[in-house]
């Protein structure tokens, strides 16, 4: 057998393999899209961590934001919430008490951090509640940021997200649900570039969960588009959650 004959045989074998190798293009596109989204977002979060760490003191929605006055229409045109402070806390000691605020309270009714199927994420359900006796118009991020604390140190965070804004009118006493997705990877072990697969998974157990939601409360006297208004934050914690 000559090398030419071997080449021909290899070509025949390669041709026979083409029909046998099944590549699911659509499924692959979905996987790539998800990975690019996570990777890009986490890269942004890592970049944001170089910014000054803001102290985690309590702060509230400004009390004079017009909640006693007639509401105006919400303009959900904002594209992005401000950089998350929680994302900057990876690996840092964190023992703050962040009591639920007023008039907008962010709470975590569930005590379980549910693992997502086929993804290294855990999800916690949160509720944003209007505790005042007036309706509130607001624009918020579409998801809640969260951190997990173990032994007083932040060990896992919500990776950065590219999310649109969401406008709503929250009647007095009513609540709106949000989800906090947290990467179940020890954020201290993720290598530069933000690829979650480079980090070590965090194990089952009890963690302290802190949650944070970026939003804009609309003042009727100043019905500027959301894009020009200042974002503020409601947050709470610690909430004791169990990761199975």
């Amino acid at each position: 057998m000559t090398s030419v004959e071997l080449k021909n045989l290899l070509q025949d074998l390669a041709a026979s393999g083409d029909g046998r190798v099944d590549v699911d293009e659509q499924q692959l596109i979905a996987r790539i899209r998800a990975r690019r989204r996570r990777r890009g977002a986490l890269t942004a979060a890592v970049a944001a961590s170089t910014v000054v760490v803001v102290a985690a003191g309590a702060y509230a929605v400004r009390p004079n934001d017009g909640i006693d006055r007639p509401p105006v229409a919400v303009t959900p045109t904002a594209k992005a919430a401000p950089a998350p402070r929680f994302g900057e806390l990876c690996g840092k000691p964190f023992t703050a008490k962040l009591p639920a605020q007023s008039p907008l309270q962010l709470t975590v009714p569930s005590k379980v951090l549910a693992r997502q199927l086929h993804q290294p994420f855990g999800s916690a359900s949160t509720l944003l509640t209007n505790t005042s006796d007036s309706q509130i118009d607001l624009t918020s991020a579409t998801a809640v940021w969260g951190i997990l604390v173990k032994d007083d140190v932040v060990v896992a965070v919500t990776p950065g997200m590219n999310q649109a804004a969401r406008g709503m009118r929250l009647a007095a006493g009513k609540s709106e649900g949000y989800t906090a997705d947290i990467a179940l990877v020890d954020c201290r072990t993720i290598k530069a570039g933000g690829d979650l697969s480079t980090g070590r998974s965090i194990g089952p157990g009890t963690y302290q969960l802190y949650v944070q939601l970026d939003l804009i409360v609309h003042a009727p006297s100043d019905p500027a588009p959301a894009t020009t208004r200042q974002w503020t934050t409601v947050e709470s914690g610690p909430w004791s959650v169990e990761l199975e």
């Binding site: 080449k7 290899l10 074998l13 190798v21 699911d24 890009g40």
Partner: protein, 165 residues
């Protein structure tokens, strides 16, 4: 549609068949070949910036496939995870398929690096120097792999080693 997605679809439309064939030659198993192609595409297109034309992208994907294939640990773990799913390939009775099976079985006795060298040398027509660059080893190492592979293939295919230089 994002730029990467358009590039991805164009690559699969234009060169998908060649990539699948290449993977099949390297692995010899349809399931493992599918994994190899998909993992390589995933790796290349997950990068935030996908630039280049189809030819360049194909080069990246082929390189990723080669790296993954010769990575013994990955190969071993894939095999452990999936060997229970594999069945014996069907026996072929026509002459062409019988020969293809014979070649496939002959390639199966080679080590991953020997096999990669054979595929790159005799199927891709790459010179030894370029094979060495792709595998990240010395030219002498490639020559040794090729010599060892030729000896094994000659024994398997019932021919002489000298005839396939």
């Amino acid at each position: 549609m994002a730029d990467w997605e358009a590039a991805f679809k164009e690559l699969l439309a234009v060169r998908g068949s060649a990539l699948r064939s290449y993977a099949y030659l390297l692995t010899g198993e349809s399931a493992a070949a599918a994994d190899l192609v998909q993992d390589a595409l995933l790796r290349v297109f997950t990068r935030l910036r996908v630039r280049g034309d189809v030819e360049q992208l194909e080069g990246y994907v082929r390189r990723a496939m080669l790296n993954q294939y010769v990575d013994g640990r990955r190969r071993a773990s894939l095999w452990r995870a999936k060997r229970h799913l594999l069945v014996d390939p069907p026996a072929h009775h026509d002459e062409d398929h019988a020969v293809a099976d014979e070649v496939r079985q002959a390639l199966a006795v080679l080590s991953p690096k020997q096999r990669a060298c054979v595929v790159l040398r005799y199927y891709e027509d790459l010179p030894v120097l370029e094979i060495a660059e792709q595998l990240g080893c010395a030219e002498g190492t490639v020559k040794r792999h090729l010599a060892d592979a030729r000896t094994k293939l000659a024994a398997q295919l019932g021919t002489t080693e000298e005839s396939i230089r």
